[in-house]
């Protein structure tokens, strides 16, 4: 089976649907048309660029270029996590907590998958590394953003309860433990739901892509299973790291609750 190539006209037809949706947003005064069009434009530009960059990398797979692309993806994901926080950590920690956690989880899970599971030669082969890393970063990013937002939101709301425990001489870990657990759970629920619905309600994007490109459906299913499991692990470990680092940062060296380290972004 050959992949049918899409023409610019084909994409323009799809774009018309989004423009129609923007028109509907105006008609119903939803006020979301601007955001919608900007996001759609970003999708077009970003994916086109990625396609071009990968095209170059496929020809010239220099490890340094690949690392640069991976680093760029990590930094953008880190920025996205920060941008989704209502109360983010002030200064370098705003981006640092999420970026570091994603680095720890996504990169190690990707390396593990490439070296031990898929056993690609060489392991930094662009065809495997970049899509895998992208799927992992994209999903852990959501989990970490939700978990961190939940952590800082609840710490702010329940400042009195946390300090009531500190006043009685409880350690900071005890004072924040329930909030930590809630934050972690909230970060893990989306991937748990996604795994539960996979294949029954939703046909996952990667599997769809492989089938469209002509892969045998059963091979595509195996890859999708692998990816889902890796994403679950990556999200779980990433969210744990983020909540652990974030909750530590909420307290200083004398175990005082330091909400002044958060800044409200409205």
């Amino acid at each position: 089976m050959e992949l049918i190539q899409l023409s610019a006209f084909d994409l323009a037809l799809a774009a018309c649907l989004v423009i129609a949706l923007a028109g509907l947003s105006v008609a119903l005064s939803l006020g979301i048309e601007r955001k919608l069009l900007i996001a759609a434009t970003r999708t077009v530009v970003q994916l086109t660029l990625l396609g071009l960059v990968l095209k170059v990398l496929f020809v010239q797979s220099h490890p340094l270029l690949i690392s640069l692309l991976a680093l760029f993806m990590l930094l953008v994901a880190g920025y996205e996590v920060m941008a989704r926080q209502q109360r983010r950590f002030a200064g370098i920690w705003g981006m640092g907590v999420g970026t570091l956690s994603m680095f720890i989880s996504s990169f190690s899970v990707t390396l593990l998958a490439l070296n031990l599971i898929i056993q690609v030669e060489p392991w930094y082969s662009v065809q495997y590394l970049i899509p895998l890393l992208g799927m992992l970063l994209g999903n852990t990013m959501s989990g970490i953003a939700i978990a961190l937002d939940n952590l800082t939101h609840n710490a702010w709301q329940q400042r009195g309860q946390i300090e009531a425990r500190l006043m009685l001489g409880h350690a900071w870990q005890t004072a924040i433990q329930e909030i930590r657990r809630t934050a972690l759970r909230s970060g893990l629920i989306p991937i748990i739901n996604a795994m539960a619905a996979a294949g029954v309600v939703s046909l996952p994007g990667m599997m769809t892509g492989q089938i469209l490109a002509g892969s045998p459906p059963f091979e595509a299913a195996k890859y999708q299973i692998l990816i889902m499991l890796l994403i679950a692990a990556g999200t779980g470990f990433g969210a744990t790291a983020a909540v652990w680092i974030g909750s530590r940062r909420l307290f200083d060296e004398r175990q005082r609750l330091r909400l002044d380290r958060l800044q409200d972004t409205g």
């Binding site: 500190l166 006043m167 009685l168 001489g169 004398r254």
Partner: protein, 200 residues
């Protein structure tokens, strides 16, 4: 038996403070709202950053871990907070006579926190603090939400604690009659300064 000493102790709204509260002594602290009383107590309990040093007897705050310091220097905040749903979840031992001294019986263990009145919360929060066996007491308007009889009950319970354990006590209150009843020396915060008041 424990005394409290502050040396060049500095919090955001106040000039540096030197203060000695002897073991078994209670001092009262008053001043307009927003003048920094609560902040001072919070800093002594090491809940807020501050300059200078505080001592229990001769042991400086910086020489012990924060949890150790806070369990020895017990702060009773003006508003109490509860982290679990039921009263009993906040106590390890509800058999202690202190519970009945403050006007409760064993049944209160299963009470839901959301159904407590502010006065009940205030008395239970005092019980929670005292059962933690602090050596120093920092009390931020401990009878503000109480009626006359409960107010008397709380005063006499704290008085008994102070005599028995010879704790140093700082008691924030606006009520002059109460200041006279509970404290030996009286302090006021005026224009960012802690001043001892001389009563005739």
């Amino acid at each position: 038996m424990a005394s409290l000493r502050l040396e060049a102790f500095e919090t955001p709204l106040l000039e540096p403070i030197d203060l000695q509260v002897a073991d078994g002594e209670c001092i009262s602290l008053s001043g307009p709202s927003g003048c920094g009383k609560t902040r001072l107590l919070r800093a002594i309990a090491d809940l807020d950053p501050h300059q200078g040093e505080a001592f229990i007897d001769d042991s400086p705050q910086s020489s012990m871990s924060a949890p150790t310091w806070r369990s020895r220097v017990g702060l009773l905040p003006a508003e109490s907070f509860w982290w679990a749903n039921r009263v009993g979840d906040h106590f390890t031992d509800m058999q202690d006579p202190l519970i009945s001294d403050l006007g409760f019986d064993q049944a209160c263990q299963s009470w839901e926190i959301t159904r407590l009145s502010s006065g009940e919360k205030q008395r239970l929060s005092l019980a929670r603090l005292l059962l933690n066996r602090p050596q120093i007491l920092l009390l931020d308007e401990p009878t503000a939400n109480l009626d006359q009889s409960n107010s008397t009950r709380v005063e006499s319970r704290i008085e008994a604690w102070r005599r028995r354990h010879r704790s140093a006590v700082i008691w924030v209150t606006h009520d002059q009659a109460q200041q006279a009843r509970v404290a030996n020396r009286h302090f006021q915060i005026k224009a960012g300064k802690l001043q001892e008041q001389v009563w005739n």
